[in-house]
Symmetry: C2
Subunit: 207 residues, 2 copies
DNA sequence: TAGATTGTTAATCGATTAACAATC
DNA sequence: TAGATTGTTAATCGATTAACAATC
């Protein structure tokens, strides 16, 4: 176990490992090697071993990794074994789509509050969650100990939503709006804007 | 202008530059420096200059970059100035959300065909586009010269959808399903799975 | 034991940043 | 001209991969 700073690239691969390990687990596979993982995930086996070794010695030489044990460990590392409340702002199509993923997330992360200021949305329900007006955001974050905020509003409103999240005291933000938002340094932001994905794909078209 | 291989990291930043340049353009800003861009986008100005310099000399020493000219150039580089037809498979919540973004994409990339095999979806319309059964996918790709495929089906079906896209002859795939799909090497795949984003965010929570 | 596979070090590769001459 | 800012080289930093002793 090292105490080096873990790079973002490493952290981003852990959920990918976890996902495949869960698949293996459902198929009752007991053990997996870095070789197997690498083949399936298109990654170098040495990289996978190194990634895992940052956090501990999880494998057995000559054998590989115990699937269940590794799942447990990665869930610990990612803090997915504790309940994490998530709030979402923006009850449009994308927001609703994300709320429906609640069901799929077997881990303890759940969207527990939805906000939107448009009058035709406030009061409606998505997946048994009522849509609340933005003025209740800060209070709810505090009362329900919400730690992560998701932004699915148009770009023009993303910054002001981020500001409210910060005021409420979330620790991290997942931003789907196509704009770079500014937040205090201690708050982690991940951008998940698929227009960027799509546009960079175009670059690789044949001509 | 270099002829070096351009790294993926560079290509992924170009749409981000483009986005902000479009904002500037709407505000009638004529000129922008790498300094300005860096401030706004949280990037090192040297990096921005270097990224752009891979493709040509777009700036003027002592002045900066002409906003309109740079927009034009980046659109050329990303091939966003040619019409690109996109097909989407999976008319669930996420699929519908993406179709609604058609309106926002000012560039010439458009979702022009939607597919889904569930009987309650075939025949319905999303944004004036009819949902077609999967058996029509390959034919439509060829007839409508579709070059990019978007996958918004559950993980269990993602690989078979990818196979069909490949059979039809798309050049690139944007995969929203939480699974690594296998395609021939010449086809570009970008993964846009937000469960991974969300799980890696959890790592950065305070404890 | 022989074969397999880890954890880790060293080597390589690539990406970011600093610095500055060129020049608008 | 003086100040600003590019394009580019060199320096730095960081991430990936290869190799192998340790060991199950």
């Amino acid at each position: 176990m090292k105490t080096e700073k873990i790079s973002e690239a490493v952290v981003r691969r852990l959920p990918v490992y976890l996902r495949f390990l869960n698949e293996l687990n459902m198929k009752n596979v007991q053990t997996v090697s870095s070789q197997d993982l690498g083949n399936k995930l298109d990654l170098n086996p040495a990289q996978i071993r190194k990634d895992l070794a940052y956090f501990g010695e999880f494998g057995k030489k000559g054998i590989g990794y115990d699937v269940n044990y590794l799942i447990e460990k990665i869930r610990q590392i990612l803090k997915l074994n504790q309940d994490i409340a998530v709030a979402l702002v923006g009850a449009g199509n994308l927001g609703r789509a994300l709320c429906n993923y609640n069901v799929y997330l077997k881990d303890n992360m759940k969207i527990t509050a939805i906000f939107d200021d448009s009058p035709d949305k406030v009061g409606t329900s998505i997946n048994n969650l009522q849509v609340h007006p933005m003025k209740e955001l800060v209070g709810t974050i505090r009362e329900e100990a919400i730690r992560i905020g998701i932004i699915t509003v148009p770009a023009s409103e993303a910054q002001s939503v981020a500001d409210e999240f910060v005021r409420g005291g979330v620790e991290a933000i997942l931003n789907f709006a196509p704009v770079i938002i500014k937040v205090p340094m201690h708050i982690r932001v991940h951008n998940a804007d698929f227009t960027t994905d799509l546009q960079s794909l175009a670059y690789y078209l044949d001509e």
